[in-house]
C-alpha cells in the first residue's frame, strides 16, 4: 500500500472528488435572507407542524384515539406495588443524556407519571442524575407529582440528586447503590449508552424487577437480555404518550405515524420516478 507520495486526482473516485470540492467553496459574506436549497426542510417542518396541530384538534374533539398497547407499561404498576409491599424503594434511572436528547424528555414525562403512583402508594423513590440541568428539571417534576396527588409533604428532598456527569463514575455509584440499598424495582427510561449492560446486569443480580426503555438501539440487545420488560426504540416515546392518555400526547404519536406514512409514500414515488428516468424528486429530497 503506497502511502507516502501517493498521488491525488488521478485515481480518486469521482464522486469522492466532487464531495471534497464542494466542501471547499469559498464565499464572501452572505447577504441572502433565505437559502433556497433548504426549501425542502422548511416544507418538511411546516408539514409536520400541520400534522401535529391537526391531530391535536382531532384528539381534543374525540379522545378515543387508538394507540396500540405497549407491553411492559402495565409492569410499572406491578413494580411499584411490589416495592411498597416489601418496604423498599424504587430506583429510577433517567438515562445518561442532557436536555438536547428526546429520550430525556420521555424520561421526564414517564417519571412524572410514575412519581404520582409512587406518592399515592407511599413508597420511596430514588432518582440519581447524570446531567445537572436534567436534575433540576426532574426534581421539579417529582415535587409537582407529589403535590398533584395531594401529598407534597411526603416528598423527600434529595431523592432526586446529582451523581456525576462522567459515565463510569455514574455507573459505579448507581451500581453501588443497587447492591447496598437493594431497591425492589429498577426502572431505566431514557437515553442509555455503554452503561446499560452493567446497570441491568447488576440490577438483575439483586433480584429486582427491571423495566427498561431506550431509544438508543445499540443498547437494546442487552436490556432485552437482562430485564423483565423492555420498550424498543420509539416505544419509549409512545409510552410517555400512552401513560398520560392525554390527547396532546396521543396526537403526537399519530402525527409521527402520518409523517412516517408520508415519508414512505415520498420514497416510493421518488424511487418509481427515478426508475423511470426522472430523478427530480429524489434530488429535491436531498437538496439541503
Amino acid at each position: 500500500m503506497p502511502v507516502e507520495g501517493s498521488t491525488r486526482g488521478d485515481r480518486v473516485d469521482p464522486t469522492l472528488a466532487a464531495v471534497l470540492r464542494s466542501g471547499l467553496v469559498t464565499q464572501a459574506l452572505d447577504t441572502r435572507w433565505f437559502d433556497p436549497s433548504r426549501l425542502n426542510i422548511l416544507i418538511g417542518v411546516l408539514l409536520f407542524t400541520a400534522f401535529l396541530i391537526v391531530n391535536i384538534f382531532r384528539a381534543r374533539a374525540n379522545a378515543d384515539i387508538y394507540v396500540r398497547p405497549i407491553a411492559g407499561l402495565k409492569a410499572l404498576d406491578e413494580a411499584i406495588g411490589r416495592a411498597t409491599e416489601m418496604g423498599r424503594s424504587v430506583l429510577y434511572v433517567p438515562g445518561l443524556s442532557d436536555m438536547s436528547e428526546v429520550g430525556t424528555f420521555a424520561a421526564i414525562t414517564i417519571l412524572y407519571r410514575l412519581a404520582q403512583r409512587v406518592a399515592e402508594m407511599g413508597c420511596d423513590i430514588d432518582v440519581p442524575c447524570y446531567d445537572p440541568v436534567v436534575m433540576t428539571v426532574l426534581d421539579g417534576a417529582v415535587r409537582e407529582a407529589y403535590s398533584k396527588v395531594g401529598k407534597p409533604d411526603a416528598f423527600r428532598p434529595g431523592c432526586v440528586h446529582y451523581v456525576s456527569a462522567q459515565q463510569m463514575a455514574y455507573v459505579a455509584a448507581v451500581n453501588g447503590f443497587m447492591l447496598r440499598e437493594l431497591p425492589a424495582a429498577n426502572i431505566y427510561m431514557g437515553s442509555f449508552y455503554a452503561e446499560s449492560l452493567r446497570l441491568a446486569e447488576t440490577g438483575a443480580t439483586t433480584g429486582a424487577i427491571q423495566i427498561a426503555g431506550t431509544d438508543k438501539v445499540t443498547q437494546l440487545p442487552f436490556f432485552v437480555c437482562a430485564c423483565d420488560y423492555t420498550l424498543l426504540g420509539e416505544e419509549l416515546f409512545a409510552a410517555s404518550a400512552y401513560l398520560g392518555r392525554e390527547p396532546v400526547q396521543l396526537a403526537t404519536i399519530i402525527a409521527q405515524d402520518w409523517a412516517k406514512a408520508a415519508a414512505a409514500a415520498a420514497v416510493v414515488t421518488a424511487l418509481a420516478l427515478s426508475a423511470l428516468g426522472n430523478p427530480a424528486l429524489m434530488k429535491w429530497l436531498g437538496a439541503a
Partner: protein, 205 residues
C-alpha cells in the same frame, strides 16, 4: 407563573430554528451569540450539580450513615481537584493534569473494561435463543464476532464478505428506519416544547 419562561422558550426556539434558513451574516452572528450563551448557562448548571453532589455526601457524613468514610473520600477529592484546577489550570503539565492521568484515567477505563467480563458471563448465562427473534439475533452476533476479526478468514474466506453484506443490507435497512423514527421523535418533541405543548421541563406535564 410559567407564562414568562414559556415565552422565552418559544422566542429562542423559534428564532434559532428560523435562523437555519437565513444565511445572512448578521442573522448568523446573532445565532452564534445565542448559542454561545448556552455554554455559560451550562457551566452554572454544573456548579449547581456539584453542590447537589456535595450536599448528598455531606449529609451522609453528618448523619454517620453507612459508608460515610467513603463519602469523605468523595468530598475531599472533589474539593482538592476543584481548587487546584481553578488555581493552576487543568492541562497537561499542571497538578490536575497529573492527577487526571494517574487517577481519573485508569479508573474510568478500568471501570469500562469490566464490561468485557460481564458480557462473557452474560453470554453463558443469559443470552438465550428463546424465540425465533432471539435466535436470529444471536446467530447474527456470532457471525459478526467470528467474521470481523483476524480468525474469520482463516475459518472461511467467505466470512468477511458475509459480515459486510449483513451490515450493508439488513442492518442498513433497519438502522435507516430507526434513524427516521428517532428523527421524527426528536423534531416532534422540539416542536411541542417550542409551541408550549410540552412543559414537563418546567416541572409540569
Amino acid at each position: 407563573m410559567r407564562r414568562g419562561p414559556l415565552l422565552v422558550t418559544f422566542l429562542t426556539g423559534a428564532a434559532v430554528a428560523a435562523l437555519y434558513f437565513i444565511p445572512h451574516h448578521t442573522a448568523q452572528a446573532v445565532n452564534s451569540k445565542l448559542l454561545e450563551w448556552t455554554l455559560v448557562v451550562y457551566a452554572f448548571a454544573l456548579i449547581l450539580g456539584s453542590m447537589s453532589l456535595w450536599n448528598n455526601h455531606a449529609r451522609k457524613v453528618k448523619n454517620r450513615a453507612e459508608g460515610w468514610g467513603y463519602s469523605i473520600v468523595t468530598l475531599s477529592s472533589l474539593v482538592v481537584i476543584t481548587i487546584l484546577g481553578v488555581w493552576k489550570g487543568v492541562g497537561e503539565g499542571t497538578p490536575v493534569g497529573a492527577i487526571y492521568d494517574t487517577v481519573n484515567s485508569p479508573l474510568a477505563s478500568t471501570m469500562f473494561s469490566l464490561l468485557a467480563f460481564v458480557i462473557a458471563s452474560a453470554a453463558f448465562r443469559a443470552f438465550r435463543a428463546r424465540s425465533v427473534e432471539a435466535t436470529l439475533l444471536l446467530i447474527t452476533a456470532i457471525v459478526m464476532l467470528v467474521g470481523r476479526v483476524s480468525i474469520g478468514p482463516i475459518i472461511s474466506p467467505h466470512l468477511p464478505g458475509i459480515t459486510e453484506w449483513l451490515l450493508d443490507v439488513p442492518n442498513l435497512a433497519a438502522k435507516r428506519a430507526i434513524a427516521l423514527g428517532v428523527g421524527l421523535g426528536a423534531v416532534s418533541t422540539a416542536l411541542k416544547i417550542i409551541l408550549g405543548i410540552e412543559q414537563s421541563y418546567l416541572g409540569r406535564s
